[in-house]
């Protein structure tokens, strides 16, 4: 009987896929689909990032035209990248959390707390390494607590991380007495991350690049990354497929906290301080960058590259407004518009996929 089926199956004609080399996979679930052969799927996927790249180029052109003297200088480009590095590292963690179906509002506050903890005189007495490790541990610990409340305490991510936002800022204020804590001259090694340059770029930009690359690898090449998509896309299916959804979710928030810890090191390097006011509203920038980058807020879909492009767009806008001497209110309005446009475009690409 098996044989009958097999031979029958062989002689049967299903319409063959048009393009054998179609890289559907290159566009994980992106699938805009004009009815033109499977190959287009892959191309549309790239085209989405292409849109972001085009936007970035346009902004650069605007910069060149409006402020030809100051935009294209190496010092300006370096400051753009340095600015992007801090939120960029946070954005990587945020991308994981959002793909996994959650949200983390506490990133800015956790970063502030980590920077304060690492710059207390007690911590500083152990030297720059311990300071960095302290920042990273504090970040990871706070993230782990978020994750624990969400997965095992069954709290809604929005609420759990909102509580963490408030509490972490409060704790940071308490520890620092609302004073800005300077990095001591003995620990100047931390500050050197921003002053030492390799190939013209400060070291902290390399840290950022490193985090992005590791993030990309983890998301795309490891079981952890693949399960993140599954957990965000359909948690019940993930659970029934044997994935420990709760533990995984907890890890995602811990990862986000870890990124906040790294970001704290970067902000200490850039500002030479630890402060409870660091990272104010960073959560909004990070979430916006992730969304502009094409990650679905409902989870299950998204890319690191998209998030980083989204972040660069945001940073570039800030930079252009500053260079042109425009006020920050207009800058906020522009950013708001960009989010709306990006989400509308996303919606369109979702709709055309039927």
């Amino acid at each position: 009987m098996t044989d009958a089926r097999a031979s029958g199956g062989g002689s049967q004609s299903t319409p063959p896929p048009v393009d054998e080399h179609a890289r559907v996979e290159a566009a994980p679930g992106k699938g805009g689909g004009r009815p033109n052969g499977a190959g287009i799927l892959g191309r549309v996927g790239e085209a989405r990032h292409l849109g972001l790249v085009v936007a970035l180029v346009l902004l650069a052109v605007v910069g060149l035209v409006t402020t030809p003297g100051s935009f294209a200088t190496s010092s300006n480009l370096v400051s753009i990248l340095a600015l992007a590095s801090t939120i960029g590292v946070i954005t990587v963690g945020m991308t994981f959390v959002i793909i996994g179906g959650g949200i983390d509002l506490s990133v800015g506050a956790i970063m502030a707390l980590a920077s304060v903890w690492a710059t207390t005189l007690a911590t500083q007495s152990y030297g720059p390494w311990v300071m960095s490790i302290c920042a990273i541990l504090v970040g990871t610990g706070a993230g782990l607590l978020n994750g624990f409340l969400i997965s095992y305490g069954r709290m809604v991510p929005f609420i759990a991380t909102l509580a963490m936002l408030v509490a972490a800022r409060g704790l940071a204020q308490r520890m620092s007495d609302r004073r800005t804590q300077l990095v001591q001259p003995d620990n100047n090694a931390i500050v050197e991350l921003s002053t030492t340059r390799v190939l013209g770029l400060p070291l902290l930009v390399y840290i950022f690049a490193f985090v992005v690359i590791i993030g990309w690898i983890v998301l795309n090449r490891t079981t952890f990354g693949r399960r993140t998509y599954a957990v965000g896309g359909n948690p019940e299916a993930a659970r029934l497929a044997g994935i420990d959804v709760r533990r995984h979710t907890m890890m995602l928030y811990a990862l986000s906290g870890l990124c906040c810890g790294i970001a704290a090191v970067i902000i200490m390097a850039r500002t030479t301080t630890g402060s409870s006011t660091h990272g104010d509203l960073y959560e909004l920038d990070a979430i916006a960058a992730v969304i502009i980058g094409g990650t679905l807020l409902t989870g299950g879909r998204g890319t690191i590259i998209g998030s980083i492009l989204g972040l660069l767009i945001f940073t570039l806008i800030t930079n252009l407004f500053i260079l042109n001497g425009l006020n920050t209110s207009d800058q906020l309005i522009a950013k708001g518009l960009i989010i709306v446009i990006a989400v509308l475009l996303q919606r369109r690409s979702l709709e055309t996929r039927t």
Binding site: A4, G29, G31, A38, T222, A237, G300, R301
Partner: protein, 502 residues
């Protein structure tokens, strides 16, 4: 007699697949018109075009003598076509009544009139033989059969001339199908036409008037008389060859006797679903669970898998106690579950076919967490081939596959080495006649290799034909247990329905 609906030369091209390639369909008022075809033949695509959910690339639709063109589903509903889709499309967070009247809420001055909606909903549910479903209940808490009934009530809530039902019986048990047929007869008596899709040929005989057969996106036969056309003719029109609807050879009765027990369930109880259930599955044995929807079948399977917390009782897999609440551990111990509802419980809709297949055993293609994508792809390709999933491309997004092919992918997930016990909850839901025989063969082959299988199916002949031993359930209790060969369909039906309203 003039036709209510005429579809001519419908063409629909998807990326890489021509789903419909010039299909014709004629439906008369007051008839039950059956649409048959293999998985991926284009049935769902055709009815989505009719429902305004897809737009055809070519072809015309004439409804009641006028040519129509539906820009969206609302336009189709307004012209009197309502549709029950193959995949449930209810909003889990809303109540039963809210779901039924979604999009056409009964409202006054912008406020919904809950009382009236609930009353209307009750009436519709009562008509479907389910007055017991409370209209205020949240839909997410219903079983999948319950959801199916709600989406039927939704279709009935519109003024309609034509109701399209895409595999409405796939989620229903025997008695439910009876209710459904009663409703269909009511409707047709009032002159409403019904387009009915099912892979169960005996249903077509019972309810159908005429049959249209699709094959590979083309019309293979139009307007065949549903009762007179021999099954063999229908099947060979669908498949282009002869398929025998047979079950694989079973080992001799009692041949499992001495073999070790893979699964032992002792006094298992989930309050409100089933009580004090004990049984075992031996190596190489297929044990079937027969019972109505709501008899606790799926809940037993989920409790065995550790996905549902039992109130009392114990589940032992090859000597190790299964910890509840940890499906991860169950999988590690060698279990696998193909759940009942593929869309909400099994599929990752954003991902490719291949990734859907490999997600459960991702660890086996990875070293230190690093996925070997080549090994993964090869495994996926092999399974796509084994189960003849179409189109045969593991990189295609799974949401573009037909329902039956998605179902095969869910099953494929567990066709990996190292499984000791497979829990199959409606494994053939939506799978066509030919592919079904193939799935049966695969399941039997697994058993012959020593895997224990626990099979749940709403189709009694499937349980009787495939299983070695059968447990009959009624209202959460095991009321009978015996070798499958000692039972026949009518006896099992008698047992499971005894004391129920029918």
């Amino acid at each position: 007699m003039s036709d209510l609906l005429v579809m001519r030369g419908i063409v629909k091209q998807f990326p890489g697949v021509r789903a419909l390639d010039g299909v014709d369909l004629d439906v008369r008022a007051g008839e039950v018109h059956c649409l048959l075809g293999q998985n991926g033949a284009g049935k769902s695509t055709l009815i989505k075009i009719l429902a305004g959910a897809h737009r055809p690339d070519e072809g015309t639709i004439t409804l009641g003598g006028e040519e129509v063109r539906f820009a969206n589903p609302i336009a189709a509903i307004k012209s009197g076509i309502s549709t029950i889709y193959q995949e449930l499309d209810l909003v889990d967070g809303l109540s039963v009544a809210e779901n039924i009247f979604l999009g056409h809420e009964q409202a006054a001055y912008g406020f919904t009139r809950r009382g009236e909606m609930n009353k209307e909903a009750s009436k519709l549910l009562g008509r479907l033989g389910h007055g017991e479903i409370r209209p205020t209940r949240e839909v997410g808490r219903l079983s999948s059969a319950g959801k199916q009934i709600v989406s039927m009530a939704r279709a009935l809530s519109h003024e309609t001339r034509l109701i399209v039902m895409d595999e409405p019986s796939a989620a229903l048990a025997h008695d439910e199908v009876g209710n459904l047929f009663r409703v269909i007869r009511d409707l047709t008596a009032q002159g409403v036409a019904v387009v009915y899709i099912s892979h169960r040929l005996e249903e077509i005989r019972e309810i159908g008037d005429r049959v249209t057969v699709l094959k590979d996106g083309r019309t293979a036969a139009v307007g065949l008389p549903a009762r007179e056309t021999p099954t063999s003719t229908v099947v060979s029109l669908m498949t282009g060859r002869d398929v025998e609807y047979v079950f694989p050879q079973r080992p001799a009765p009692g041949s499992h006797e001495g073999r070790p027990e893979v699964l032992k369930v002792e006094g298992l109880t989930v309050a409100g679903h089933f009580a004090d259930v004990s049984f075992s599955v031996r190596e190489g044995e297929i044990v079937g669970l027969a019972g109505l929807v709501g008899s606790g079948r799926s809940e037993i399977v989920e409790a065995v898998y550790g996905a549902r917390r039992p109130s009392t009782g114990r589940v032992v897999l090859s000597g190790e106690t299964v910890r509840t609440g940890s499906t991860t551990r169950s999988v590690r111990l060698g279990m696998g579950l193909a759940p009942e509802e593929r869309k909400s419980q099994a599929l990752l809709m954003n991902e490719s076919v291949g990734r859907n297949i490999t997600i459960a055993g991702l660890g086996r293609y990875a070293r230190f967490g690093w996925v070997d994508r080549r090994a993964e792809r090869e495994a996926a390709d092999r399974l796509v081939k084994t189960l003849d999933i179409r189109p045969p491309d593991s990189r295609r997004p799974i949401r573009t596959l037909s329902g039956g092919n998605q179902q095969k992918a869910v099953f494929a997930r567990w066709l990996v080495e190292g499984r000791k016990l497979l829990l199959l909850d409606e494994p053939t839901r939506g799978v066509d006649v030919g592919a079904r025989a193939e799935l049966y063969a695969v399941i039997r082959r697994l058993a012959d290799e020593g895997v224990g299988v626990l099979l749940v199916s709403s189709e009694v002949p499937e349980v009787l034909g495939l299983a070695d031993r059968v447990l009959v359930l009624r209202e959460g209790k095991v009321i009978h247990q015996s070798d499958a060969r000692d039972l026949d369909e009518s006896r099992v039906l008698d047992m499971i329905m005894e004391g129920s309203a029918l």
